[in-house]
């Protein structure tokens, strides 16, 4: 535990004193800010239509939950998918390249502690970037009070989704010395798990059920709608766990071969 904390703090320091986290954060905030304004404009446009027709024009989605938060969390989830590979690419690739990994692995430090420490550090960067978007909520609150349940579910969903993204990214980073390759492959792999459900569509074949189930995206709908479903929580946790275990094996193989 103490070792995890040590790795975590060290990694965190590296992230926050280097340029990558800020670079990724700025890009993320600009793009999500643009989407936020688009969603808000859309909402205002429909609101205007509803008021103009004296509520004759019916649109049940016209409330802060369905009209703003739900599309906003979906947008975030997709943007983060693009950002995470940039955060995870250096996790192990760099150390493998410089050889410091051998050093790290010869410490009285277990692989699990090393991987978890790094993972929590990326997760912290990820979530602090995300928490800045809470200011959007504050701005909405200024115009229209809303119940807190839906954003709570949304941010929890994004946190779990991030856990899944990051474990996959870290695993891929543990396979290669090249950061660019790590980022590109992570991006491809995350995208694969993101879209596999859409490929299955609404087919009723058993394989389609499985494809929808293993798809990262399919498990996010409930969170975005304000519902916490144990199935989705279990899925994201298992997805992350699977790749943590895979990372440990990958590191061990290096130790064995090295």
């Amino acid at each position: 535990m103490k070792n995890i904390l040590a790795v975590y703090l060290k990694e965190l320091k590296v992230y926050f004193s280097g340029p990558i986290a800020y670079f990724v954060g700025v890009i993320f905030l600009v793009v999500s800010g643009i989407f936020f304004i688009l969603i808000l404009n859309d909402y205002a446009r429909i609101s205007f239509e509803v008021i103009r027709t004296n509520y004759q024009f019916k649109l049940p989605q016209l409330n802060v939950t369905d009209g703003i938060f739900s599309p906003m969390f979906h947008t975030f989830s997709f943007l983060l998918l693009l950002m995470v590979p940039l955060l995870t690419m250096k996790s192990f690739s760099e150390e493998k390249k410089t050889g410091t990994i051998e050093l790290a692995l010869t410490y009285p430090l277990r692989g699990t502690e090393l991987v978890l420490g790094k993972l929590f550090a990326v997760l912290t960067v990820y979530f602090s970037m995300l928490l800045l978007t809470a200011s959007y909520g504050a701005m909405i609150l200024y115009f229209k009070p809303f119940p807190p349940g839906v954003p709570v579910a949304g941010y929890l969903g994004l946190l779990l989704l991030g856990f899944a993204f990051i474990s996959l990214g870290i695993f891929i980073s543990s396979l290669t010395e090249n950061q660019i390759i790590a980022a590109a492959v992570s991006f491809g792999a995350i995208m694969l798990f993101w879209l596999v459900g859409a490929v299955a569509g609404d087919s009723t074949m058993p394989i389609a059920d499985i494809m929808r189930y293993i798809s990262l995206r399919e498990h996010f709908h409930s969170f975005a709608a304000g519902v916490i479903d144990t199935r989705d929580v279990v899925y994201y946790l298992s997805f992350g766990l699977l790749f943590i275990i895979a990372t440990l094996r990958a590191l061990e193989s290096r130790r064995f071969r090295g």
Binding site: G25, V26, V50, V64, L132, F143, K144, A198, D229
Partner: protein, 450 residues
Amino acid sequence: MKRSFFAWGSNLMLYMIAVVGLIGLVNYLSARHYSRLDLTEKGKYTLSDQTVKTLENLKAEVKTVAFVKDDPGARRQAREMLEGYRYHSRFFTWEFVDPDKYPLTAKKYKVLRYNTFVVEGSDGRKESFSGRLTEENLTNSIVKVSSDKVKKVYFTGGHGEKDIEGTKPRDYRQIALALENENFKPETLVLTETKKIPADASVIIVAGPAKDLLEGELKMLRDYLNSGGRALFLVDPMTLKTTIAFLAEYGIEPMDNVIVDKYSKTLGGDYLSPAVTSYSKQHAVTKDFKYITIFPLARSLKPDGEKAEILATTLDESWGESSRKELADGRVAFNEQEDSYGPLILAAVAEIENKANPQGRKGELIVIGDSDFAANSYIGFGGNRDLFLNIANWLAGDVERISIRPKAADMDPMIFSQNETYAVAGISIVGLPLLMLIVGVWVNVRRRRS
């Protein structure tokens, strides 16, 4: 060394298979036993108690086929709701069908529009509705197709009515079988042998009596209708007197004529088999009915506009022939003085106040000026069978419809002034990223200096 590397590799493989298997198992279990925490303001995604109870009481499979366009956006709401239903009962299954991609399935379920939902019970009973998928509609349809209550339909006997067991062309065996398929139990009831209409009667059908019903029998029927009963009278031309007076009390008077329709000959009937293509769009029985029906040897009806509503009318070219001599000679001609001209009313419905319990359900009486249209030899023609079953189903209509308040959040419009829009855009697109950029630059510059 090489060998041990191989051994290590296969060990790793086994290890990963075990891990994936274990995680798969956990997920399999979690997909089957889950719970949901609904944090929306009104518990929008939480099903009502009535729905949960209905689902938990299911004892046989109920399948919902959702005819929704193959578009994830259009299907999401339906998917969420249907999945929620499935959670509460293993007997509840559902699937999506795109009616354009699977026209055969759509045809099988008689689906004509997008967003039609068909709920099918294990015995083949179907309920469908179109439009937005609401909990109220879905739950009521499930109740309807899964209720194991068999609806009793009594055919009166003893006055030369159609025989529900008979297999001769003018008998009613076929329609009785069709009723059984709709979860009815048809039985013959001789009113003189009973004191009262049985309490389990869903519908009483008086199908083409040759002789009038006795005064005592009519009184039973009157009491039945006045206390929320449902009856269907099929009255053939050139018969009955007191029964006609009885029907006239409720505002539907059968006329003393025979409908002549020269057009129906082109449809394979004869002059005396009027064809009907025009049905009331207002009344629930015929609202969606689109088939042609044929009524061999029929009389027209005169409904009282205040008490009764028209269900079906004949073609404009038809007329009601009241001269028996002409009919007997087989040479009919329209006579302006005596005959009434088309379109003639062939079916009508009257709603009857419930005198026993004014708050209770109302009585309903449907009268058709013909009984042969549902006989063995005509039942297969056009929409005859469907019309009869529609009427029987509507009359027997489920009394208790569950009402579930829709939990959709209220519309909550919000508009911004120009300045507010600029402020929000400025903060979110420029302010926040700029803040982060400044912090990033500051940190990195300081680090480099040190």
